[in-house]
Symmetry: C2
DNA sequence: TCCTCATATGCAACTCGTTGCATAGCCAAG
DNA sequence: CTTGGCTATGCAACGAGTTGCATATGAGGA
């Protein structure tokens, strides 16, 4: 159900089209909730038919027309209601960890490249987050003081930064372990 | 596709029934991959029909019969093949983060209890992981030296521990932010 | 005796999410 | 002038995951 709520939050922050939402889900919102454009278009249509959103068809010059969605009363109420409900803490879904345990039944060194690749992705994400933090929250161009919405966006971004740092450190640990096992006598 | 591979890993570590796998997915394997018993039974049946697993019907006294699954040749090959493929790094799914950003459009203090509840869950998980680490890997009752499989299980568990510690620290940050905003003048 | 709990397996219906494909307008480069 | 790229929206089919329900055995307690 959370895609619906992620869309409400994003559209309250700023109205936009399905295409624009899909872009936001590649940055910003997408740091902690992902969705493809097909999913977004489908849910937007449903939410509009349920009266949570309003559409405005905008003809643009030099571009195809778009439909701009914005949150209306019942949508705001739905979000508020959801905020008052409790959700259950995240359950893990870490495919790489499954692979690492699986490596016991093959040659552990086959995973070294894979783990290095993941490590690089997380390093890039961290750099991206840090640049965003500087631009929007802690740099000289950032507004001072931050309003409540910006403070909350910032604390979520700090979570992303902490997650990437933790992950990079862990992947270093994994690499050290795989390399150590690689030089030991084989097993199984 | 990863449920299939998580099952292969778990059954290679030790053969077992659907019920037993479901239990393992509540501990151990479940720390980084979750599944319900319905999902497990369905996939076991499919994997058996594809020749990845073998079944043995065991009649037990004082308990209903069970079907014990174990990995056979093609299953081992399938796992090995998967280990050589590359997967794409995890995409986040953090519902609480959506809520935190959404709190900008309601009273941020409504989230304080919710975040405190999540924090407690993570503290409990951390304690549980640390107890498991002591029991299986670092305590006096642990085998020395550890074999490759145990080393790999340990490094995965260290990842879980690092994740929980990071999350608890972040939730403290979130709580401090929510409390600070709660004492500021309202917004929106 | 009846109820509940733990073991053990499964179906049916549903929602959520992914993948591949299709369409269409306009721009810029070759 | 054709091709590729970006904006913009959408269908169809499939696969993954959840929820509710159903069934059966046997243990232990009220």
């Amino acid at each position: 159900m959370a895609l619906e709520h992620a869309i409400l939050v994003s559209l309250l922050e700023k109205p936009g089209s399905g295409y624009e939402l899909a872009r936001r889900f590649e940055r910003s919102i997408g740091y902690f909730w992902t969705a493809t454009h097909q999913q977004i278009y489908r849910v937007l249509k449903r939410m509009e038919s349920e009266g949570l959103l309003a559409v405005r068809e905008l003809s643009q010059q030099s571009r195809p027309d778009k439909k701009e969605y914005s949150v209306v009363g019942p949508g705001r109420t739905a979000l508020s209601q959801w905020l008052h409900e409790s959700i259950q803490p995240e359950s893990m879904r870490h495919e790489l960890a499954v692979k690492i345990r699986g490596a016991a039944f093959d040659d552990p060194s086959v995973l070294i490249r894979e783990v290095e690749r993941h490590r690089q992705v997380h390093i890039d994400r961290l750099a991206h987050y840090l640049a965003g933090e500087l631009r929007d929250f802690t740099g000289p161009a950032a507004p001072t003081p931050l309003d409540a919405g910006q403070e909350l966006q910032h604390v979520v971004l700090r979570g992303g930064i902490a997650y990437e740092r933790m992950t990079i450190a862990w992947l270093d640990d994994v690499l050290a372990t795989l390399r150590r096992l690689g030089t030991s006598p084989p097993h199984v």
